[in-house]
């Protein structure tokens, strides 16, 4: 079974990326500071442009860890099965959405702040309408194919038989 190794590798990469953050020059760190006028607000003048690619790597590593965890849950007898492949495709889509978010943010930082979607600037729209709501489709795939891919009648029968045998032994 290779999924645990994939989880180990992706979590290690994530840890390395977090470790790399210690070496980012202080001048490149996004620094929030009290707002010039309103003390109960924070503002920032640096933003995340200098650390955007380190952040992009971190985001992809997080998605890889999440995909590995999901695969560990849906795999049966060491095989991913159709549900694992569908959910894997879902994580690829999430990776693409995250890429769109980051590239859109790079343009946003360069001054392109006129693109709006659904009342939000483009990168924020990718975040809320994409990363937040897209997984609903993945949940629906799990729900719609529940008996076929997740917990089949055969699974149910084997569990019932197990419980019955335990009850008989107890009696």
């Amino acid at each position: 079974m290779r999924t645990p190794w994939f989880l180990f590798a992706s979590a290690s990469v994530l840890l390395l990326i977090m470790g790399a953050s210690f070496f980012v020059s202080p001048s490149d760190r996004p620094a929030s500071q009290p707002h010039a006028v309103y003390t109960s607000l924070e503002s920032t003048d640096v933003g995340s442009q200098a650390t955007i690619w380190l952040g992009y790597s971190m985001g992809l590593a997080i998605l890889a860890v999440m995909a590995a965890l999901v695969w560990m849950g849906v795999a049966k007898m060491g095989k991913l099965g159709a549900l694992g492949r569908w959910l894997g495709a879902g994580f690829v889509c999430l990776g693409l959405i995250f890429t769109a978010l980051v590239t859109s943010y790079a343009r946003y930082g360069a001054g392109d702040q006129n693109s709006f979607f659904g009342g939000l600037p483009a990168p924020t729209a990718w975040m809320l309408y994409g990363l937040w709501l897209f997984p609903m489709l993945m949940i629906l795939v799990c729900s719609l194919h529940f008996e076929r891919w997740y917990f089949s009648e055969e699974d149910e029968r084997s569990i019932e038989a197990l419980m019955r045998s335990k009850r008989v032994r107890k009696d």
Binding site: V24, M58, W132, S143
Partner: protein
Amino acid sequence: MEAARPLIVLVSVAIYFIACMAMGLWAYRKTRSTEDFFMAGRDLGVLVTAFALFSSILSGFGFVGGPGLVYLMGMSSMWMVVCAGIGGVISFALIAKRIRLFAELRHCISLPDVVAARYESDSVRASVAVVILIGVIGYLATQILAMAIVLQDILRSAGVWTEISLGMSVAISCSVLLFYTVTGGILASVYTDLIQGGVMVVASVLVFVTVLTTFDGGLTEISQIIMADDAEAMGPWGTLGIMGCLSWFFMFGVGAVGQPHVITKSMMMRRIRDIKHIVPLTFLAYVASALLWLGIGLAMRALVVSGAHPALLSPDAAAPQFLQNYTHPLLAGVVFAGLLAAIMSTADGFLNIGTAALVHDIPTAVLGRTIANRLWWARIATVAIAVAASVFALYTGDLVALLGAFGWGTFAAALVPVVAIGLNWKRASALAANTAVIASLLINVGSQITGLTPPLGIDVGALALAVSLVLFVGISLAGPEPRIKPDVAIIMNA
């Protein structure tokens, strides 16, 4: 009607309190065994389980702290919310089915019961129970404090009891909480969660509609006002920065399957096949409730920077100020009841798992057997834990915040590997499980005590989670494959 606003809020809260106590009395008649008290007889339907799950996740933080963070930092804190969808997928895949199967196979009444069944180890049972008990006291203390502050504010605003002390407010709010949790156990908790969750969803959607109508140009105008003042605040990372935001995304998205007060609810559903309805319903309810978090935070920031509203004294005033100034009095009443509901629904979940740790898990791990008269002791322990947490909340100052902050990150780092992965991976070992728990405690407690945190806004809980994942998987892969009992193997193969 505007003049009667404080009274409307007070009456709404009073109705809600009475409903909770009535639920406690109803559940008392149905609670006959410890399995009923802790697991609701494993007979919860779709709607009750879904709302119990979602209202346990969304504590008072979501109704006060969340909008305050959006007001303070812009979009940064939305990463705690954005991860909910993926968290739902992870929960579907890793936890929902497996934990329910373990609960049925070994008649488990708590999370430590489940891990003891999986690892055949009382040391893992004990370490998980201790983590839960420590986390529960800290988390519960913060919830009790928040509950008391809200009630004190409501009673003072209504002019009913202007001199009420915080201690008295703690006593009143805890009495209601204890009444329904002691009498009705988890059954009362989950059915009050249903009411609480319903109130939260309705209130959040209505508040979001109010937010959109506060400005003529709706959400676009709000965005433009905030961007004109500070474009980064309206960008996806807010003022925290990309690394900090993503660390929240990781810790809250993956960490959700390590929150004991949440995942324990999955052990209580009636049928496994209900999962296909429960998970989507939980996600939709959460999305609806998070609209309040987003909407109020953005609206108040836009109102303040545009000069339409005076600057707030603190970010946490964002939600109360919006409710008092921009919503209909009846809606304000519903939301304040919803706020108390959010706090209490999380608190009752903690009380339940803390009680199980105290009267069931720790005695079983130490003595090797369960204690007699557990139901009676469970009721006593529920009161004792609430009293301990109240004293803690009132008299230990910064330590409450310390242990409260310790909660989510520690549960995530300690329990995601041990529970979520361990229940799905036969190679996971007891040694790896205990190492992950210890590493989680060391990193989270160490950071709180020393004040050392990672740079770039990375949350220490996220770092602890990554470390414990690497240790858990690495140690398990390096060691021999543990022997699994045949019945447990069947459950893990399903």
